[in-house]
Each structure stands twice: as structure tokens, then as C-alpha cells.
């Protein structure tokens, strides 16, 4: 019961908070793709893989008081920061087992930019294709972002690093 909620709380707590909705979406997706048992269903949206279920779950956790959502005004745009509350920690301890076998993953992912995570998640979304096709698809759906060859190489290396 509420195990899936507890997993999200556990992840945000392990990551020591997450800044940015897009970032949170992509981090969970990347972890799911490397085998972490998150159950949220993802589809392809504007910024790449996106889960409506995850959005709903985060909003529910905020309503329950287990996650605190803070709006940060960055003058030209607005950003959201998510942190686990004391009640959230109690909830996680009561219900959840740690979801991440390797807690370093949360920190590693959190250290990356939203742009890089969007790139990585999009490449993973097309991981059933050969590498050239994967890159061509990335440029076709994300043309406006002009990802460089270096960024793409770095993203592939990062995926390998996470898998190992």
C-alpha cells in the first residue's frame, strides 16, 4: 500500500532534494530505464519522456505534506524545488524499503543539468534503435536544442556509467 509513493519520497530524500520538474521527470525515467523498479508510466512529450502518473504522484505527495514544493522565481522563468518533509521521512521509514541499490545514482543524476538529462532520457527512449538511428531520431524530435556531438557522446558514456 502506497509503496509507489514511498519510493518517490525515498528517491527525493536520497537525492537531497531536486530542483526542476523536468529534471525530476527525467531522473526517474533514467533510473527506470536502468532497472530501478519505479512503476510510473512514461510517454513521449514536449521535453522527451514524461510521466503524467509521476506528476500526479508528486502533487499527491505535496498534498499529503510529505514533499514540500517551493517555487523559485528566476526572473525570466520559474522553477520548482522539491524536498522531503519530516512527515515524509517518517512515512518513508514506515512504508518503504530503499528503492535505490546504489544511492550514488541519485547524487550523480542530480549533479547534471536539466538539458543533459533531457538529452540522456531522450536517447534512452529510443534505445531500441541502432546508435546512428538513435542520434538521427534525437535530432529529429529535438532539433531546436542543437545537441552537440560532444554532449551526445557524454550522454552515452553517462548511460554506460549508470548501468555499470
Amino acid at each position: 500500500m502506497l509503496q509507489e509513493h514511498a519510493k518517490i519520497v525515498d528517491f527525493i530524500s536520497t537525492a537531497e532534494g531536486v530542483t526542476g520538474r523536468k529534471k525530476l521527470q527525467k531522473m526517474i525515467y533514467i533510473l527506470k530505464k536502468i532497472g530501478v523498479p519505479f512503476q510510473e508510466k512514461y510517454e513521449f512529450h514536449i521535453y522527451g519522456p514524461y510521466s503524467e502518473e509521476l506528476t500526479a504522484r508528486i502533487e499527491e505527495l505535496c498534498d499529503m505534506g510529505f514533499i514540500l514544493e517551493q517555487k523559485e522565481d528566476k526572473s525570466s522563468y520559474v522553477q520548482y524545488r522539491y524536498e522531503v518533509t519530516a512527515e515524509g521521512l517518517e512515512f518513508r521509514n514506515a512504508l518503504g524499503k530503499p528503492v535505490l541499490e546504489n544511492s550514488e545514482h541519485a547524487i550523480q543524476l542530480n549533479g547534471k543539468s536539466a538539458r543533459f538529462l533531457e538529452l540522456t532520457a531522450t536517447l534512452l527512449f529510443f534505445d531500441d534503435l541502432g546508435r546512428d538511428e538513435q542520434i538521427a531520431k534525437l535530432h529529429s524530435v529535438k532539433g531546436k536544442l542543437n545537441f552537440t556531438a560532444e554532449e551526445i557522446t557524454e550522454a552515452f558514456a553517462f548511460i554506460e556509467e549508470l548501468k555499470n
Partner: protein
């Protein structure tokens, strides 16, 4: 004439209670409708377990798919045709995507996908691109055509205008299912002036927009959607049936993995239990197959499987109470222990379920939202987001509503056995919050 442009000698029509007639002229569309994978959708209900609440809701994904195709056909042939912003060469790919968008749905797909951790969209892609009749028809158009159709359905197609006809906050899929589900459930909400909406749809840059004169018809559509979600799709009794269905599949999987000898072996499910399934295994399933197993499993020796199947087949559903998980998650733990003491397995008989909906959302620049808003085309050619002009839509924009329920078999708690423990359970359930 090449296959892509081949027309039937005479137009074929399907009588349809929602759109009156569904018109088919393209040979490709006709062939796809007759493909076995498309015919399979006749055996999968559009609304899953809702027929246990709204007895008319026995309509299939087959009829919904034809409906989505018909709406897109009307948009393309009657509204977009000849407009410079619309690329006519995309007509066939979008018609095929409309027709085939639900092809990968399985029997009672919501529950099935949860228990077996599969995704109908993966199966849609596999049916389109694998060794199937549908694939061989699409390939006759062009070798890369099946992939293109899959990309439109998967929302990764380069032309976003094409994608938004099938998946957006005002798309052909939603317009069909709202009206069709309203018709078959017999409810009075869910109706809106689709003809008006179609007449004011316009291709514009990389999206489809609505002429501002059609704003009130769109408001009506959004309110219809809101009502249908809460009155039909999230009906607590249909959810009770869904919960039981999920638990049947979960129990069968558990028993199979623990050496239980079924009197009626779950042959069709075995590949899903051990995750060795192929597309062929998936396509061999439909709701008739599942219902046959449920009927036969009523006489299984395992009391839980037998009971759950009897509940589903004979509509002896679980009772429910509202609960607030934020406050009551500890009580849930207590309840689970008491259920255990009372000899009722909480894994199968005490189930929390939540559902939520966001009726409409708009894009806030810089806020990293993911939903494409509905844009209105103003008389001067400007584009404005719907909720900026509509007070009604603004009132419900970005507001998610969530409902939590706790399901349990009420009659087992008043059967006179282990009275004291069951009394404690009932008191906990009656207490505020739970």
C-alpha cells in the same frame, strides 16, 4: 495506381450510433479494418469493467477506433483540404494512425498492464512493425510506412501538427470516446457540439488551433470531459471491480509461481507469469478468454482465487470508504494486521486505490510544463491560450482532483466469525479519515 492512392470501387459505410456513418474510400483503410489484429479489438471493451455499473457500456475498442478514424477523416477531407498550412502528403499516415492508435490494448488493459508490467503502447508498436497482417498491409504503402504510423501514435513523429490531431488536449481520440462512452453508458453529460469544433479547427504552424469564434464549443467539450471523468471513468464501483480483477491476476500469478496445481491450468497466462511472452501470446488474449478462465476458476481449490473470481463474475464487489493517505497510512498498517488476525489476507482483501484527473492545463513559459495547451486563433491572426480568454476554463485549469478509496469485502466483516477483531476493524473503518 499505387496502393497508397488506391480507392475502393464504391465507398463503404459503417452505421455508427455516434457519427451516423463512417465512410471508407481508401483501399488501405479497408484492408486494415479487415486485418485480424484490428478485428481482435471487437473482443476488447472500451470501458473495461464499467459495464458492471453502466450496463450499456459493452462497446468495443473496435468501434471507438473507427470513430477516431472518421473524425480525423472529416477534419482532413472537409476542413484542412486545400489549406496551405496543411501538408496533403500526410493524409494517409494520420488516417492510419487514427484507426490503429489503440491496436495494442489488451483485455481489461488497465489491470492487465499493472499486474504483468507491460505497456499497450509497446504492443501497438510491435503490431505495426512486427510480423502481422497490419504490418504487411502498411508495408505495401512504403517500406518505412509502418514506422511512420508508429511514430505518429508514439508522438515522436517530426510533424507535430499530425501528432496533435491524434494526441493533444483536444484531439480526435478524446472527441470520440467522450461521445461514444456517453452514448453507451446512457449518461447525459459527455455531449458537446463536435461539428462546431471541427468546423473551426485550423492547421497553424506546428499545431492545430481553434478559431476564437468556437471558444464556447470548446468550453463545453472541456466541461463534458470533466464530468465524464468523475461520473463515469472514476466511478467507485467500477474501480471496485477493477481492484478485484487485478487481484485475480495477481493471485493466479502467485499460485503459478508457488507450485499450485490448477484444475484449469492458466495456459494463456504462463508466458506472462514468467515474462517469456511474445506478440503471438499477447494477441491470443481477449476478454472472452479471460472471462472463461474466471468462470472456470470459480471451482478452483484455492479459496482466494475461487472467491475473487466468483466476486468478479457474479458482481459481488468490494465495499469502499474514503480515506486520506496522508493522515491514515498508519491506520492502514493497523488494519492490515487486524485483517491478518481475522484470517482475511489483506494482500487480496484490503486495497487502497487512488485516481486523479487534471481537466485542462496550460503552458506556462519557463515552468517546464509538458501539456500542449489549446490555442485560439484570433481574428487578427494572433494566437491566445484558451484559459486566458475563457473564465470557465480558467476556473478549472491546472487543478488536479484526486480521490482515494479503501476497498474491502464488507460481508466478511459481519459474518459472525472472530467477532471481536472484526469489530475493531469496523470501528477503524468507521473512524474519521478512514
Amino acid at each position: 495506381m499505387d496502393y497508397a492512392n488506391q480507392k475502393l470501387a464504391e465507398e463503404k459505410v459503417f452505421k455508427d450510433p455516434v457519427h451516423r456513418y463512417i465512410h471508407v474510400r481508401d483501399q488501405v483503410i479497408w484492408d486494415l479494418i479487415n486485418a485480424r489484429e484490428f478485428q481482435r479489438m471487437r473482443r476488447i471493451k472500451q470501458l473495461g469493467t464499467s459495464y458492471l455499473v453502466f450496463h450499456g457500456a459493452e462497446h468495443s475498442r473496435f468501434s471507438h477506433s473507427l470513430g477516431v478514424y472518421e473524425i480525423v477523416r472529416r477534419i482532413l477531407d472537409d476542413i484542412f483540404h486545400g489549406r496551405p498550412e496543411w501538408d496533403e502528403s500526410e493524409r494517409l499516415v494520420v488516417l492510419c494512425a487514427a484507426l490503429l492508435h489503440d491496436l495494442g490494448h489488451g483485455p481489461f488493459s488497465h489491470s492487465f498492464e499493472k499486474v504483468f508490467n507491460v505497456d499497450h503502447e509497446d504492443f501497438t508498436r510491435e503490431i505495426l512493425q512486427g510480423d502481422t497482417e497490419v504490418n504487411s498491409i502498411l508495408k505495401k504503402v512504403a517500406p518505412d510506412f509502418p514506422k511512420k504510423v508508429a511514430e505518429v501514435i508514439g508522438k515522436t513523429y517530426a510533424n507535430k501538427q499530425v501528432v496533435s490531431l491524434i494526441s493533444s488536449q483536444i484531439d480526435a481520440d478524446r472527441m470520440d470516446y467522450l461521445q461514444r462512452d456517453a452514448y453507451y453508458t446512457g449518461v447525459s453529460y459527455g455531449h458537446f457540439d463536435m461539428e462546431r469544433i471541427l468546423r473551426v479547427m485550423r492547421p497553424f504552424e506546428d499545431q492545430v488551433v481553434i478559431k476564437s469564434s468556437g471558444m464556447h464549443a470548446v468550453e463545453d467539450y472541456i466541461m463534458s470531459r470533466y464530468q465524464m471523468y468523475w461520473q463515469v471513468y472514476f466511478h467507485p464501483v467500477a474501480r471496485s471491480a477493477e481492484v478485484i480483477l487485478r487481484k485475480i491476476l495477481q493471485r493466479a500469478k502467485y499460485l503459478s509461481g508457488h507450485g499450485y496445481k490448477f484444475e484449469q491450468p492458466p495456459t494463456h497466462f504462463l508466458a506472462f507469469f514468467d515474462r517469456s511472452f511474445t506478440l503471438k501470446d499477447y494477441l491470443a488474449l481477449d476478454e472472452g478468454v479471460l472471462m472463461t478462465y474466471f468462470q472456470l476458476w470459480i471451482t478452483e481449490r484455492d479459496p482466494i482465487l475461487s472467491d475473487l473470481c466468483d466476486r468478479f463474475v457474479n458482481r459481488r464487489l468490494f465495499q469502499y470508504v474514503d480515506f486520506d493517505p496522508g493522515k491514515d497510512y498508519k491506520k492502514l498498517g493497523e488494519l492490515a494486521q487486524l485483517f491478518q488476525k481475522a484470517g482475511i489476507d489483506p494482500e487480496y482483501y484490503l486495497i487502497d486505490d487512488s485516481t486523479s484527473d487534471l481537466p485542462y492545463d496550460f503552458y506556462r513559459p519557463g515552468e517546464e510544463e509538458e501539456r500542449l495547451p489549446i490555442h485560439l486563433l484570433m481574428p487578427n491572426g494572433d494566437i491566445k491560450e484558451l484559459s486566458r480568454l475563457s473564465q470557465i476554463v480558467d476556473g478549472i485549469s491546472g487543478k488536479r482532483r484526486t480521490d482515494y478509496k479503501l476497498y474491502f469485502p464488507a460481508e466478511l466483516l459481519i459474518d459472525g466469525k472472530k467477532k471481536e477483531i472484526k469489530q475493531q476493524i469496523l470501528e477503524l473503518l468507521r473512524e474519521g479519515g478512514v
